[in-house]
């Protein structure tokens, strides 16, 4: 069971506090984001499948690009960049 501890991380330079067990994707929505990246032709995109299949939720995590935000849980001090 998830405990109710708070986790602090940075999303696009903004400080965000979420409950432990929250995925990066959910944290981005909590911070008010809806566009997670842009497609190869520049269309705005966000998660479609929510379960690691579509890769439309990908973000840059601590400098590593193309990380699926719906498949990774928030950890203290993470830095996430959407594009």
């Amino acid at each position: 069971m998830a405990t109710m501890n708070k986790i602090r991380l940075k999303i696009d330079g903004k400080d965000v506090e979420v409950l432990e067990g929250t995925t990066l994707a959910a944290a981005i929505y909590q911070a008010g984001g809806t566009t997670f990246h842009h497609s190869v032709s520049g269309q705005p995109r966000g998660p479609l499948c929510g379960m690691g299949i579509c890769f439309d939720c990908r973000v840059t995590l601590n400098g590593t690009p193309h990380v699926r935000s719906c498949m990774n849980l928030c950890r203290e001090g993470m830095e996430v960049t959407t594009r």
């Binding site: 109710m4 705005p44 479609l48 929510g50 379960m51």
Partner: protein, 411 residues
């Protein structure tokens, strides 16, 4: 005996618990950050259902080596090769393998389906459970399958306004399914439960979304019953057209796949010696079937006899499963929603107009890059199969995008 169980949904949990309780050394691997799979997905906003907790406790009571957030990429001489987005290369040595890779949603392209806040039905539910805020948001749930009601109920419970539930299957087609609900009353009770939570939003049958509109986020969808169209302003569209078995890993291990399902015998053994497969990847059957199959596979992998009663119980679900598929069969109109400018391959932005002149998946891949992006055709492949009748390409190693560092580590 070291058994690797791939997937920690109902089928995988049942297989792992049963194998460990019978003396096997078990490795349980899942791509998701926690156990439960899709149907038992839980998170800070949603506790796991009681049945899920029972199985998770059985897993925890055993000494099982668990790897979450780990994607299996294929097999080499040392065992299964896997990858974690946060930790890199992982090697999983094992004697036997039980695949419980589950299913994903079928997405059919329609104008506007690539807009942010257009999700799969299960996709929207997964994001909600992971912590996506939905209170006060207007949601349209559309597509097909029993999942739609469950999704609408979850959103209603969390304070979202369900402004429409549009099921493409007609009421006549669905009524044929009624006798099965009487034979499996637990499913009927579940359905009635969703219904009471949703009042006054009742599902409309024989209706679907033909277009989603908005600039950088969905603002409105157009609903239709084939005769007239009407707008539904909304903040979220949750739209899925049923489920597609995840067969890629089984195919990569050389297992026979027929009609999009992993072929198994009555003991869940695949065509590859020492490889078993359970749950949705062998055909869409739901959690009850997956649990039974998980137990059967674990006992079979350990050569433990006396699984006959479980096999008989498994057969009892056969007609439920096949009639479910018939009741929610896709109407031709939902296969004709894409316009020439509608994106079909979301990874490479390949449009319907470009694809419709291609003879097959292979040629589409070579000439248009359809299916060559990060999802490796997992979204557009089944869509093209439905739209154009194309057979799916066999997946290639590595099954999922991986960094070069991790690949070099695996050598």
């Amino acid at each position: 005996m070291r058994i690797a169980v791939i997937g920690a949904g109902p089928g995988g949990l049942a297989a792992a618990a049963t194998a460990a309780e019978n003396g096997a050394d078990v490795l349980l691997v899942d791509e998701n950050p926690r156990a439960g799979g899709q149907i038992w997905r839980h998170g800070p906003m949603a506790p796991p259902p009681k049945l899920a907790m029972e199985w998770i406790r059985r897993i925890q009571a055993q000494r099982i080596e668990t790897h979450f957030g780990v994607t299996v990429l294929g097999r080499d001489s040392n065992g299964l090769v896997a990858y974690s987005e946060q930790e890199g290369h992982v090697c999983l040595q094992c004697d036997k393998i039980i695949l419980a890779t589950g299913a994903r949603e079928l997405f059919l392209p329609f104008p506007g389906w690539t807009l942010p806040n257009v999700f799969g039905a299960g996709g929207a539910q997964a994001l909600l459970k992971a912590g996506m805020p939905v209170e006060g948001k207007r949601i349209v749930v559309a597509g097909s399958g029993p999942l739609l009601l469950a999704v609408a109920a979850t959103f209603a419970k969390k304070g979202a306004h369900v402004v429409g539930i549009l099921e493409q299957a007609g009421i006549h087609s669905l009524l044929q399914f009624a006798p099965e609900l009487i034979r499996h009353p637990a499913k009927l009770i579940q359905g009635v439960g969703f219904g009471t939570r949703l009042f006054p939003t009742r599902p409309r049958f024989g209706t679907w979304v033909c277009r989603a509109m908005g600039n950088d986020i969905v603002r409105e969808v157009i609903a239709t019953d084939g005769k007239r169209e009407w707008p539904l302003p909304c903040d979220i569209l949750a739209c899925g057209f049923g489920l597609v078995p995840n067969v890629e890993l089984a195919q990569a291990l050389g297992c026979d796949v027929e009609k999009g399902k992993v072929s198994v015998d009555e003991h869940q053994a695949t065509s590859q010696s020492g490889v078993y497969c359970v749950g949705e990847s062998t055909g869409i059957g739901g959690e009850d079937v997956a649990l039974l199959e998980g137990e059967i596979a674990a006992l079979a992998a350990l050569d433990i006899p006396n699984v006959t009663s479980k096999i008989h119980e498994r057969w009892r679900w056969e007609s439920f499963v096949s009639n479910l598929g018939r009741a929610f069969a896709l109407r031709k109109e939902v296969l004709q929603l894409a316009e020439d400018t509608t994106t079909v391959c979301r990874c490479e932005d390949v449009s319907f107009g470009v694809l419709k002149n291609q003879p097959d998946q292979r040629s589409a891949k070579l000439y248009t890059r359809c299916g060559m992006g990060p999802c490796q055709g997992r979204v557009c492949g089944p869509a093209c199969h439905e739209l154009f009748g194309w057979e799916l390409n066999k997946p290639r190693w590595p099954l999922s995008p991986v960094t070069l560092d991790a690949l070099l580590d695996s050598q």
